[in-house]
Symmetry: C2
Subunit: 336 residues, 2 copies
DNA sequence: ATACTAAATGTAATCGATTACATAAACTAA
DNA sequence: TTAGTTTATGTAATCGATTACATTTAGTAT
C-alpha cells in the first residue's frame, strides 16, 4: 500500500507538504502542488482514511437511529438525511432499534467513542434527561417528535395543529359525530395527534364520546379492528380521523366490508401522506408531512452544529398541509 | 480522555495486558483481569475505537449500496442486512445512489480506502468486469439480481421462473390473451421477468402479440399508462402480469376507471409482495420475494467472506412463492 | 543592497491501541 | 532441587496522517 511518505520521497518534498496539498492546497505553491499531485496520480496513492480519522478524531460520519427502516415514513426521512449528508461529504451509519431502548443506548456509545461526529434520532424512546445530557456533549438533532420545552435541536411538524386541521376539515364537511383512531399513546406523536383531534372537537362544541376514541398501533390491522368497534356502536360515527395512513386504510377496508361507502357513508382522513395513500381507493385525504425535507433539514442543522454553530433557534417546525383527495368526501361535496 | 496507559498505570500492569484483557481475556490471569477490569470501571475508560481501527485496519463496518432507500423493497432488504449485521457486531453504512453510477464508484472508494470491511450491492449498475475485479480484492455480496455466469457471491431469487409461475397461474385460470407490463429493460431483473413471461406464453402455445408487452418504469403511473394502452387495443387482453406490485396497482386503477371489474373483467398479477399489496383493493395476487431474508442471507455470506471463507457455492437463489389473493380471480373461480 | 515581512517548506512529535518479541513467573516431572 | 515447559506479563516498535514549531525562501520597501 502506497503511503504518504512514498509520495513525499518521489516528489522530493516532505510529508507535511503532501498533506497540505490534500487538505489545504492554497498554502502550497502552484509548482509543488502540481508536482505532488502528479506523483499521487502516478503512484495511485489513496490516503489512509483510518489514520486520518484517528489523528483528527473525526470521521465525517453521522449516525441515524431509526425505529424501523422498513416503515416508509422513516425511510423517506432517512432518504432526505442521506442526500444532505452525501452532498456535504458525510457518510451515514444506520441503526435500526426495533423499538428496543437498549439499542439506542448502544448506539450512543458510538458517539461517546467518537466513531461518529454526530447523531440524528428519529426515535423518541430516550428519557428527556439523558437526551439533554448527550446533546450538551455531542452534536445531536431530533427529527420527528416535538417535545415540549426540550432544549435539544429538533425538526418536527406540529402534530397538534395538523390533526386539528384534519378534524376541522371533517367538521366543515358537516360531520357531527367524528371518531378518532389514535396511535399508541406511549408515543408523544400519538398523544399530540390525539390532542389536536380533541381540540377541534371541543372548539366546535361537538359531542365528546370517549367510545369514539380508540387506540391503534399505527398498523393496517389495528385500523381495521378499531373501525369494526365503531361500526358496532349503537350510533356509529359518520367520519373517522386516523392518526396515520395505514390505519386509515384499515379503517376504510372495515367500512367497505360492512357495506358502507367511503366517503358517502363514512368519511375518513389519514395522516402522513405516504406514497400509497394516493394509490389507495378511495385515494386518501391526509395530512402531508414533509418527510424528505425533515431529513434534509435535520442533517443541515447537524452539519451546523458539527461546525460549531450554536443554535439559538432550537425547535424547527416544518409546515404540513391537508391533501384533499377522495376519502373525505370534500370533492364530491363541492360538485353537488 | 482516559487512555489505555492511564488504566495500565493505575492497575500496575502494562498497556499490553490491558489490551489483552479487552481483546483476548483468556490469556490473562483471573487476578490481573479482575484488577484491570475494575480500574477500567473506576476510570470509566472507553477505548479509542478510531485508534483500533487504524492499527488493525478494520472497522467492523459494512457498506450497503442501495438505488433508493425510499423504495420499500430495498428498505426491507436493508432491514434484513441491518439486523444480521447488528447481531454480529457490525455497523451498516448506507449509500443511496439514486441510480447514478458515479455514486457507486465513489462508494467503492470506501472499500479501497478500507473505510469498510465489506460491501453489499443492491444495485446493478456496475459493469460485470468491474464487479468481478472488485470482488476479487474485497469482500462483496450482490443482492437482488442474479447475473448469469458472474462469479461474485450473489443472493437472489429466480426472476425468470417466478414470473413464469405468475403467468402460468393466469393461464391455468383460462386466460388466452395475457399482457405484460415489464420493468425498464436496462435492468436485468426486468429482462428476466419478461423472459419468464414469454416462456410461459410460448410453452402454452398462446398467441404472442408484441403489442401486449409494454415497458413500464416500476412506478404506479407507468402501470396506469400502459394499461390504458392495452385497453385501447381492438382486442384488449383479459389478464395482465405486471413486473412489480406498484405497476399492478396502477394497471388496476386504469382498468377500474374504464369500467372494468378486477378480476372479473381483467385479472392482474403483480410481483414483490410489498406490504401494501394486501391492503390494496382488490388485494393483489403476487410473487412474494423473501426481501428481509435476502438481506439477512447476504449479510451472512458477507460475514463469512470477511472471515476468510472462500465460497464454493456462489449463487444463492432463495425461494419465492405465489400469493393468491383477489386480483387474479382464482378465489372466485374456485368458489364457482 | 539591506533589513524586514510574508510565504513556503521541512522536522519531528503526536494521536492511542495493538502485537512481535523478550522476559519473568508458575508449573511439571523426574 | 533442577531442568524443561507452559503461562503470564512487559517492552517498545508500529500503524500513517497531521500539525506545532522551526527553518528556509521569496518578496517588499527603503
Amino acid at each position: 500500500m502506497v503511503k504518504m511518505s512514498d509520495v513525499a520521497k518521489l516528489a522530493n518534498v516532505s510529508t507535511a507538504t503532501v498533506s497540505r496539498v490534500l487538505r489545504s492546497p492554497e498554502t502550497v505553491k502552484e509548482n509543488t502542488r502540481q508536482k505532488v499531485l502528479s506523483v499521487i496520480e502516478e503512484l495511485n496513492y489513496q490516503p489512509n482514511i483510518l489514520a486520518r480519522h484517528f489523528r483528527r478524531s473525526e470521521t465525517n460520519t453521522i449516525l441515524v437511529i431509526v425505529p424501523n427502516i422498513m416503515n416508509t415514513v422513516f425511510a423517506e426521512i432517512v432518504g432526505g438525511i442521506e442526500q444532505a449528508a452525501a452532498a456535504n461529504g458525510y457518510k451515514v451509519l444506520l441503526r435500526n432499534t426495533n423499538l428496543d431502548v437498549r439499542n439506542e443506548y448502544e448506539a450512543i456509545d458510538h458517539l461517546k467513542q467518537r466513531q461518529v461526529d454526530g447523531m440524528i434520532l428519529l426515535s423518541e424512546r430516550l428519557e428527556k434527561k439523558t437526551l439533554l445530557e448527550i446533546s450538551k456533549q455531542y452534536p445531536v438533532v431530533l427529527a420527528s417528535a416535538y417535545i415540549e420545552g426540550l432544549k435539544v435541536p429538533t425538526v418536527s411538524i406540529d402534530n397538534i395543529s395538523s390533526s386539528r386541521e384534519a378534524t376541522e376539515h371533517l367538521i366543515r364537511l358537516g360531520h357531527k359525530r367524528i371518531a378518532n383512531i389514535c396511535g399508541p399513546l406511549f408515543s408523544s406523536i400519538s398523544r399530540d395527534r390525539l390532542k389536536g383531534f380533541k381540540q377541534a372537537v371541543y372548539q366546535n362544541d361537538l359531542e365528546v364520546d370517549s367510545v369514539l376514541i380508540q387506540e391503534g398501533e399505527f398498523t393496517f390491522d389495528s385500523g381495521y379492528n378499531q373501525m369494526l368497534k365503531f361500526l358496532a356502536l349503537e350510533v356509529p360515527p359518520t367520519a373517522v380521523f386516523a392518526a396515520n395512513d395505514e390505519m386509515a386504510m384499515g379503517a376504510i377496508k372495515a367500512a367497505k366490508e360492512n357495506g358502507l361507502k367511503v366517503p358517502e357513508d363514512m368519511a375518513v382522513v389519514g395522516f402522513d401522506n405516504i406514497k400509497f395513500s394516493s394509490m389507495f381507493e378511495p385515494a386518501l385525504t391526509t395530512i402531508a408531512q414533509p418527510k424528505y425535507e425533515m431529513g434534509k433539514k435535520a442533517m443541515e442543522l447537524l452539519l451546523e452544529q458539527m461546525q460549531g454553530v450554536v443554535h439559538t433557534k432550537i425547535q424547527h417546525v416544518l409546515d404540513t398541509n391537508l391533501v384533499i383527495r377522495d376519502s373525505c368526501g370534500a370533492k364530491k361535496a363541492e360538485l353537488v
